[in-house]
């Protein structure tokens, strides 16, 4: 049960139940769809970028607890960050959920994201945790309209 408790931490359960920034954004500068065909998770990430700064970020859609909590935590962490900072956090987050860095040793850099350390024990759930991040990344790069984890 410990690995499971580690996965479904309080922070994750809380963000799943009461997701932050869970709304459409009318004045978004960019909106990108993210889709995980394996489980049908589907989110739209809205960003409002002014200059180099993410002034606002929100999301809409449906999916599992891990993907929803991840989108929610991401949105609260990235608001007000520069594109460069967002990119660095994305790299950190990716390393965290794939088990490439130790959460304990990087608590300061990770902040709230550390709650997702347990995902690395569940390889099939890595895509759930990173869907929103990949979508955000595409939105900032202004690359495509829809991204898929497959």
């Amino acid at each position: 049960m410990s690995a499971l408790r580690e996965l479904y931490q309080e922070v994750i359960l809380d963000h799943n139940k009461s997701p932050r920034n869970f709304r459409k954004m009318e004045d978004a500068t960019r909106a990108v769809d993210g889709y995980n065909p394996l489980c049908g998770d589907h989110y739209k990430i809205f960003v409002k970028v002014e200059g180099d700064v993410i002034q606002d970020i929100s999301f809409d859609g449906a999916g599992c607890a891990i993907s929803k909590a991840s989108a929610s935590v991401m949105s609260s962490v990235l608001k007000g960050k520069t594109k460069e900072e967002a990119e660095r956090l994305f790299q950190q987050f990716h390393k965290l959920v794939t088990g490439d860095i130790d959460a304990e040793k990087n608590l300061e850099a990770l902040g709230k994201l550390a709650a997702f350390a347990g995902v690395s024990e569940f390889p099939v759930r890595v895509k759930c945790a990173s869907l929103a991040w990949h979508t955000m990344h595409a939105a900032l790069e202004a690359r495509v309209e829809t991204i898929s984890t497959e």
């Binding site: 049960m1 690995a3 499971l4 996965l7 479904y8 359960l13 799943n16 394996l38 489980c39 049908g40 998770d41 589907h42 449906a62 999916g63 599992c64 607890a65 891990i66 929803k68 569940f122 759930r125 759930c128």
Partner: protein
């Protein structure tokens, strides 16, 4: 002299058999633990586990008979050919085809459908024609027809279903029109468990002169299938869902259809003679079997059929029916659980959702309890859309599952609700 391994296993089987339940001892994989708990394997609609006799048949082929079939004059080639063709004969009997010429080895149900779409479909379906499928099809019985319709400028039409997951037969009859060239339907739905009234549906189509293909992947592990009684023109299924190995399956087709169809793939084994000017195709069933097939898989499928025959298909159906009813009642009793697919006639499959909890999370928590179920859209996205859910959790049964395992599933679902509810 060494004892025939078949006899040894048979004796072991009879000794241990205790109703259908006892047969789980024949499945070595089922003895393992997952996450420190005894495995509860309820993902049989995805693939079934294999009895020791099937595993032995695979090994025996590679240890004692490995050789290419239909080619050599040497001892081993002949032996392998005999085993492979004996398996075809077992399949013929298993589904009661009129002749072994009507039994074509393919890679699986998907290839069976693609073969018919690519050969029969390409030859007979023209611009403006219609192919009729149902609202509960697996993607493998949707996409090959879409590809064909796109190529030919034909139209794909869909038989709708009601909220219980039963096809609307009045609508079906209405949709069978002047332009309908083929009906392609599942015998049993992989996402809902609905058993479709194939015999009646075939009769209706035939009255209008329209041939019918049946996707039997979810039916053959659960009930006796008699293709002549059903009357269908094509029937296709996979070995791996009926306790045989992966990578092999069967397409049954009526001889007059197969005879008139062009080959599906070209290559060795499907020819009589080849010159650069002209090739003469081989007789049935070899015309549709280009290249070296999955010989070991085909032989081991025969072993799976022998095994199911020993258990008796009638007994399997009765036992599973009781098990599915038990599980359905148990899940109905849990607050917040909604069963997707409540047809009167069901087999093998129990799809459900829990209010406010995504199926993927259900799957992860159940896995922690050693329970294997499938979560997702089950390669049937239109079915999910029909029921307004992004995905479902699906427990699917085989004759080796027990009521004890259903009880463990129920406990697991309570735990899911406790953690995430």
């Amino acid at each position: 002299m060494m004892k025939n391994p078949d006899d040894t296993l048979m004796a072991e089987f009879i000794e241990r058999v205790d109703g259908i339940k006892g047969c789980r001892f024949n499945f070595p994989l089922l003895r393992q633990s997952v996450n420190g708990k005894p495995l509860v394997y309820l993902d049989n609609a995805a693939t079934s586990q294999k009895p020791q006799v099937v595993i032995d048949a695979l090994m025996r082929y590679y240890q004692e008979e490995n050789s290419n079939i239909h080619r050599g004059v040497h001892y081993l080639s002949e032996k392998a050919t005999q085993s492979y063709e004996a398996s075809r004969a077992k399949v013929r009997k298993f589904v009661n085809a009129a002749s072994v010429q009507e039994v074509i080895f393919v890679r699986g149900t998907t290839e069976g459908i693609n073969l018919v779409a690519g050969s029969y479909g390409r030859k007979n379906i023209r611009q403006g024609d219609e192919v009729l499928i149902s609202a509960m099809e697996h993607h493998s019985n949707i996409v090959p027809w879409q590809v064909l319709c796109e190529e030919k400028g034909a139209k794909l039409r869909v038989i709708p279903m009601n909220d219980d997951g039963e096809l609307l037969l009045d609508e079906y009859e209405r949709l069978l029109g002047e332009k309908t060239r083929l009906v392609a339907i599942a015998h049993i739905s992989n996402a809902l468990g609905t058993v479709n009234p194939i015999k009646e549906m075939v009769a209706v189509a035939h009255r209008k002169g329209i041939p019918v293909l049946v996707d039997g992947a979810q039916a053959v592990p659960h009930r006796k299938v008699d293709v002549q009684d059903l009357g269908c023109d094509f029937y296709t299924f996979s070995s791996h869902k009926m306790f045989g190995p992966t990578g092999v399956g069967i397409l049954y087709g009526k001889k007059q259809f197969l005879d008139a169809m062009p080959p599906y793939q070209g290559g060795g084994d499907m020819i009589k003679s080849v010159t650069f000017e002209k090739t003469i195709y081989n007789d049935l069933p070899y015309k549709f079997e280009a290249g070296t097939p999955n010989i070991a898989g085909g032989i081991a499928l025969g072993a799976a059929i022998d095994y199911m025959g020993m258990l008796d298909m009638e007994a399997i159906s009765t036992y599973e029916h009781d098990l599915l009813n038990y599980a359905t009642e148990a899940l109905r009793g849990i607050n917040g659980v909604r069963i997707i697919g409540t047809a009167r006639e069901k087999a093998g499959v129990l799809s459900f959702v829990i209010e406010g909890i995504h199926p993927h999370d259900i799957g992860t928590i159940l896995d922690d309890e050693g329970i294997a179920i499938r979560t997702g859209h089950h390669c049937a996205q239109p079915v999910m859309q029909r029921f307004g859910v992004p995905a479902t959790a699906r427990a699917s049964f085989a004759f080796y599952n027990t009521k004890d395992e259903v009880d463990i599933l129920v406990k697991g679902i309570h735990k899911v609700i406790e953690v995430l509810g």
